[in-house]
Amino acid sequence: MYMPLLIAQRAAIGVATLMLVSLLVFVGTEILPGDVATAILGQGATPELVSALHVRLHLDDPAYLRYLHWLGNLLVGDAGQSLVNRLDVGATALARAQNSLILTCSTAAVAVPLSLLLGLIAASRPNSKVDRAISAFSVFMISIPDFLLAILLVTLFAVKLGWLPSIARIRSSYDLFDWLRVLVLPVTTLTFAVLPHMARMTRTAVLEVLETPALEMATLKGLPRWRVLVVHALPNALGPIANVIALNLAYLISGVVVIETLFNFPGLGRYMVDAVTIRDVPAVQICAMLFCAAYIVLNLAADIVAIVANPRVRYPR
């Protein structure tokens, strides 16, 4: 199959998945107990106030109508208004997504090269002292909960030493240096959270490739070790590595609510959690759509990398 066709096919599956997710999320928010009216009013909810809010927010329309209405608008780029403050949820979510993206890309810029390097070093001398040290370090880091690490880092570098801010106050006036100061602690925390997975996967994938006859041949014909690893082994191992990197990056965009909370980082994950808490359905939906889109795009990218790196996928027998 030709490559463009293959990619188009994957993209089409992605869009279909997105539609399915929108329906699932809508159903999910429907069966949540309570709605935006009771969530806002809390202890102050009386039947009279709740029904007044219901009328104001059109919550009494049938569910399928509200769903279709929303989906139609979304297709023309209108994510709708927040039920809570009537602001455009699309604009809010995109601003949050931008922050999440900055956090993700910064983490990726540190974690991906570092984990490839560690993985390659470990694979180059399997079962050596260095390999074991890297393995031990990985297992150790996986075992430490990220929030604990975050609290330790904040206590040391923000509270005790006062070198770095303990919370991330993002402003439009931030220059590169401000951003760096804000990002150091969360990026460090997240790097330690995702690095072990990627490093271990790199090691495993490269070792697997090294055991193939082609790579044995390369070694036998006297190529230097680094050349065998970087030029021959790594490209062949890139498929699975790209996959685990994609999954980790998607996790960084969507699933780091705890870290966002601890550093008060205004990311998309916290926006969604807050929106669920207050039953702001349009906001929940646009977040879910963006998360789903991130997963799909990143997986697509991983597939493309695998296809480009490995001709066998391109021309299946």
């Binding site: 009013l41 202890q43 104001r56 923000a158 909370t261």
Partner: protein, 525 residues
């Protein structure tokens, strides 16, 4: 009879008199000594910027005062708007945008005189039309404001002249002035309908940016009608829901002021010479609510057993680290001028509790008790302490922890026994009429007592303090003996700021000087 204290005091005179009152409070032990080292200090300086950590910011935050649902929202609101009537630390009404007021003989009609030297941020002069417009919004049929419950007592508002409004009530109410010191009845501009992102109030600060849960920045209103503050150039608010992160942000210097401390953080901050902790005793309470028309709590023996089985002292000490005072079995706090001192404190008494639960035939029987931290932080921990102290009395509480987001809707006023919490109110009527009046929407125990209801009406229509003291004292006694409420603790209000921040006082009605720290705060650079 005039209820205003003489001529209209300028805010500076007022702040001096408030200081005197505060000192009196501290002497009486109502404010802890470390509450604020701030009175009688160097003259305030203008300038500087402050960053304030709020305990939350949510997409429901608004600049529409009637819909302030949380204290973090009220905090921003108080900087932008003014009330007609303010509230002193002694819980008495003090003139604010209204310079004086006078009731008719039975307190069913009130005439409020307004200040004539006040302008809105837009430049428009403040007057009677703004008051009538603001209050009409709150009580109208379309209103979704919780203030509707008490603002709808206003039957009619008449503009006597540009700076005089006459209020005709549907029944006598001696508490009308203090009612106008509620945190949601601020005065907006006549005709204002737009409260997203910008707003025009008369308050000490103007809105620079207000994007819900993203950015709140206010700048000083140089035309503020008061003659003291505001002093600082700009205040930025940041919502930090996580209590540990909030204190860390203060310690690391990222913020200058934090509202709402976890009691466990207080010793850490007190040990730090660069930090000042603010502490005020308040009427905010955590209570057990038992339904009087549901089994098993319809039997007074069960209620009595439950009341005797609470080790209130242990809850105050263990859960709230001593930052609270034990409650009795009614919602009026010891700091309230109407608190009935003659009712003895209900003590933890395993023998009496066992006697009553035995009499009800429910000894060691599993009794479901609903709990959640939705009412307030620490509620689940408090119920766990309660479960243990009750177990020693032969009462087997089966704790049911309910997710915070469905607690009010699914459990409250639906299950016989649960934990609840109320913010402090300035006068007894504002809690008794809301939570204990027959048929009230928020009557969480379904307390139904004709004599009690009559006393409420009588108390509301009585202007004489001594008579009202008798009336509300009797209400407290009735609840103490028969009611479905047992107050575990009245909580302290805990805030903190860095030592370069000056001029913030503790106040029993709300965090950071009843949410009004912005007016008098200054930076000692």
């Amino acid at each position: 009879m005039s209820l205003s204290n003489g001529g209209p005091p300028s805010p500076v005179d007022f702040s001096v008199s408030r200081r005197t009152i505060l000192k009196g409070f501290a002497g009486a032990g109502l404010l802890l000594p470390f509450a604020n080292a701030g009175f009688a200090q160097a003259a305030p300086k203008k300038g500087g910027k402050l960053v304030v950590a709020l305990n939350a910011w949510t997409s429901s935050d608004t600049l529409d005062p009637g819909n302030f649902y949380d204290s973090n929202n009220a905090m921003v609101g108080f900087a932008v708007y003014d009330l007609l009537v303010n509230r002193g630390p002694d819980l008495k009404a003090i003139p604010w945008l209204a310079e004086s007021w006078e009731p008719n003989a039975d307190a069913s009609e009130w005439v409020f005189k307004l200040r004539s030297d006040v302008t809105f941020h837009s430049g428009k002069r403040f007057g009677a039309d703004d008051v009538i417009y603001s209050y009409t919004r709150l009580k109208s049929d379309k209103s979704t404001s919780p203030t509707k419950a008490f603002m709808s007592q206003i039957k009619e508002m008449k503009k006597v002249d540009d700076h005089t409004v006459r209020f005709v009530l549907d029944a006598p109410n001696a508490d009308l002035p203090i009612t106008f010191s509620d945190t949601r009845v601020h005065i907006v501009e006549d005709g204002a309908t737009e409260f997203l992102g910008k707003a025009s109030g008369t308050g000490p600060f103007k809105v620079k940016t207000f994007e819900p849960a993203q950015s709140y920045v206010l700048t000083r209103n140089d035309h503020y009608w008061g003659s003291g503050g505001p002093y600082v150039d700009e205040i930025e608010y940041v919502g930090i829901p996580d209590r540990t992160a909030r204190v860390n942000a203060l310690l690391s210097g990222d913020v200058d002021i934090v509202m709402d401390l976890d009691p466990t953080a207080v010793p850490v901050l007190q040990a730090n010479p660069d930090m000042v902790v603010l502490n005020a005793k308040s009427g905010t309470h955590v209570n057990v609510a038992m339904m009087l028309d549901m089994d098993p709590t319809s039997k007074n023996d069960v209620r009595m057993a439950m009341k005797y089985a609470i080790d209130r002292e242990a809850i105050v000490q263990n859960v709230y680290k001593g930052f609270g005072v034990v409650g009795n079995d009614h919602p009026i706090a010891p700091i309230d001028p109407f608190y009935n001192k003659e009712i003895p404190q209900r003590a933890y008494d395993p023998d009496k509790a066992r006697f009553h639960i035995k009499k009800a035939g429910l000894e060691n029987t599993k009794l479901p008790f609903y709990t959640s931290d939705a009412p307030r932080n620490g509620c689940v921990a408090a119920t766990q302490v309660y479960q243990q102290s009750a177990a020693k009395c032969g009462i087997n509480l089966d704790l049911q922890q309910i997710p915070a987001d469905s607690y009010w809707e699914k459990v409250w006023i639906k299950q016989p026994m649960l934990i609840s919490s109320w913010d402090g109110r300035p006068v007894p009527d504002l809690i008794l009429s809301i939570a204990y009046k027959t048929g009230g929407d928020y009557n969480e125990t379904h307390w139904k007592n004709d004599k009690f209801d009559k006393l409420l009406v009588e108390g509301r229509g009585t202007l004489d303090f001594a008579k009202r003291y008798e009336i509300y004292g009797e209400c407290q006694r009735m609840l103490q003996d028969d009611g479905g409420v047992a107050v575990m603790t009245f909580l302290d209000i805990l805030d903190a700021h860095a030592s370069h921040v000056k001029g913030i006082k503790a106040h029993p009605s709300g965090n950071l000087d009843f949410f009004q720290f912005a007016t008098n705060v200054w930076v000692d650079a």
